[in-house]
């Protein structure tokens, strides 16, 4: 009966020694990301000085974070469910152009342009989701194909319709206020969209049953299906979500900058993945959090903008991001190991999850 007595002792001796708060913290997927965000903020506070810390400095990285974050949150959700979405770049461009052509070039009502632009995102997400779930082609390839195809379609259509690759738009005051104002002259209204999207998605992931389905689908699709979860519908819904997020940013940018260009948005393809992975989401699925993705997005934005305040050549920003990505992944792996071992005495076998990873 040693099996029963040993752990009981371990449990009683363990509890008072370390506070539950520290243990809980190391068990969360965003712990590494939090250290990363605080680290880069401190770094640029020191080397960027007062200008970085000023309202204008904060606005510059918050604005970048907001636009990226609206895309990174649903992309992160999809990654937790075990899938990638590279098509967000082209969705952004296609939705921008749709809005600019419908409401600018053709002079249609703003609301129609906005609805159609968002519909482009929903439709692309639906196509991605259907193809990924109906075929056995990896989502990396499927969404890479959509990325390319939709970029081509956007370019071709805008040339056919307008004869040019950039279209202007004069948004009405209401649309401008909702999607494209600068609050206090410097903070994009997108920051609120970002907070809103993140709060809804975080609640859904952590507090609703659908969140549990997403974790299960990303953890082990076959087992999830066996429990009766409609795994295909979950994935299709998540693709629609990431398409919608990208289209929303397309609408925001078009209204903010009073126009659209076909080449907009391609930087979001990998930047969203960088933000999500820095945020502690496991690339292969089953693990992650919205708070982590928020922190990853902030980290990305701070590095991306902070470099301008240091007086160094901005060419170095990408180098810092690359190194940061690698360090973040290594750190997140360590924290994940902590999470797996916390609360147990020595794991009895070495073959816990290495097979799954």
């Amino acid at each position: 009966m040693t099996v029963h007595t040993v752990p009981a002792e371990a449990a009683t001796s363990r509890a008072p020694s370390t506070g539950p708060s520290i243990r809980d913290l190391t068990r969360r997927p965003e712990t590494g990301a939090l250290i990363g965000t605080l680290g880069v903020y401190a770094f640029f506070a020191i080397f960027g000085g007062d200008k970085f810390l000023s309202a204008a400095g904060s606005a510059s990285w918050l604005n970048v974070a907001a636009e990226l974050g609206i895309i990174a949150v649903p992309v992160g959700l999809l990654m937790i469910a075990g899938e990638l979405d590279l098509s967000v770049g082209s969705v952004l461009a296609a939705s921008s152009m749709t809005l600019a052509i419908v409401s600018g070039y053709w002079g249609g009502p703003m609301i129609l342009g906005i609805v159609l632009a968002l519909a482009v995102g929903v439709l692309t997400g639906l196509v991605n989701g259907l193809v990924v779930t109906r075929s056995n082609v990896p989502s990396f390839v499927v969404t890479l194909a959509t990325l390319s195809a939709l970029a081509g379609l956007t370019l071709g259509m805008s040339r056919v319709i307008t004869g040019t690759t950039s279209v202007g738009l004069r948004p009405d005051p209401a649309s401008k206020a909702i999607f494209g104002t600068l609050i206090g002259g410097q903070f994009e209204v997108a920051i609120f969209w970002w907070i809103g999207v993140a709060a809804c998605v975080a609640w859904m992931l952590q507090e609703s049953r659908y969140g549990n389905w997403i974790f299960a689908v990303g953890g082990d699709k076959e087992s999830a299906r066996a429990t009766g979860i409609p795994t295909d519908k979950v994935k299709i819904a998540l693709y629609i979500g990431s398409g919608f997020g990208a289209a929303l940013v397309g609408v925001i940018q078009t209204i903010l900058y009073n126009g659209a260009q076909v080449a907009n948005g391609q930087s979001f393809v990998f930047n969203s993945i960088i933000a999500v992975v820095i945020g502690g989401v496991l690339l292969t699925g089953g693990y992650g959090s919205v708070v982590g993705v928020l922190l990853g997005t902030l980290t990305f934005a701070i590095v991306n903008q902070g470099i301008y305040y240091t007086g160094w050549n901005s060419d170095w920003a990408a180098l810092i991001l690359g190194i940061l990505l690698l360090v973040a992944v290594l750190m997140n792996n360590t924290f994940r190991k902590f999470a797996l071992s916390s609360g147990t005495r020595k794991p009895s076998s070495g073959a816990r999850t290495s097979r799954k990873a």
């Binding site: 549990n212 974790f215 999830a224 066996a226 496991l282 999470a339 076998s349």
Partner: protein
């Protein structure tokens, strides 16, 4: 609850995949509160049979009856609706989810939260810990711990506890002891006996004759998709079963070959 009909009965079940016969004319029965051991080497058709019972595949011919009435198991959902639960080798659980979350995957308890419904994690954690304890797992006291931190035996216990909690009347265990050490395997065997005591019909799929003999009431041996033998506890010795599974002829051939190799090895060392 008629006395005549077994809880689960398979009659003349066959399955072929594009011309290949994976299962041929299999008839089996399990009663409530009994353990049926399904023995067979790799590729004997055990997995195909499990897939048919758990609703992933439909048989090409033959019938499945539950309590005497025929059923169709076209989806995993049908199988679970008929009280059939399958636990796979790795436990069918999610290493990076908490014990409570993974216990309730697909059947999350919810609480009213304004206009929304909220996943009641506290309840989920408590139930998961309590149900594992009822199967003799006392080391897991915190339902918010990750499943990946549990031992192999504990993960099996979690999956079995889950199936029992959700009212499984037929529990299919697919090689539950194969990846475990001796001590952990003993623990799982004990859990099988506990499930049996609760009146569940257990189908214990294994290629370990020793494990099967220690808990089984009824045994069926599959060889190349056919039922090679079918017997009750005490009707065969361990040697007889092992010989049958290995295929007597093939074993004799192997022994002769090994003897030759030994002779050759001795020659070279001299």
């Amino acid at each position: 609850m008629s006395m005549a009909a077994p809880l689960l009965r398979l009659s003349n079940v066959s399955k072929s995949y594009v011309g290949v016969n994976a299962l041929n004319d299999i008839s089996l029965e399990v009663d409530a509160g009994k353990v049926l051991c399904l023995l067979g080497d790799n590729g004997a058709g055990k997995s195909t049979l499990i897939k048919i019972l758990s609703g992933f595949h439909e048989p090409s011919s033959g019938t499945i009856e539950i309590n005497g009435s025929p059923v169709r198991l076209s989806t995993p959902r049908d199988a679970s609706a008929h009280g059939i639960a399958t636990v796979h080798q790795v436990g069918g659980t999610f290493p990076l989810m908490s014990v409570g979350r993974s216990f309730f995957v697909g059947a999350e308890p919810t609480k009213r939260f304004g206009p929304l419904r909220r996943f009641d994690k506290k309840f989920a954690n408590e139930v998961a810990v309590r149900e594992m304890r009822s199967l003799g797992i006392t080391r897991v006291t915190d339902g918010s711990r990750l499943v990946g931190g549990l031992s192999g035996g504990e993960r099996q216990a979690l999956a079995i506890a889950r199936a029992v909690y959700f009212g499984a009347s037929v529990l299919i265990l697919d090689e539950p002891t194969a990846a475990l050490g001796v001590k952990e395997a003993t623990h799982v065997l004990r859990i099988i006996m506990q499930a049996r005591q609760k009146g569940i019909a257990v189908i214990f799929v294994t290629h370990n004759v020793l494990h099967a003999m220690s808990v089984g009431d009824h045994f069926a041996v599959l060889i190349r998709g056919e039922k090679a033998d079918d017997f009750r506890k005490g009707e065969r010795t361990r040697e007889q079963v092992t010989d049958l599974m290995a295929g007597g002829e093939a074993m004799a051939h192997l022994e002769a070959e090994l003897a030759d190799l030994h002779a050759a090895a001795e020659e070279t060392t001299q």
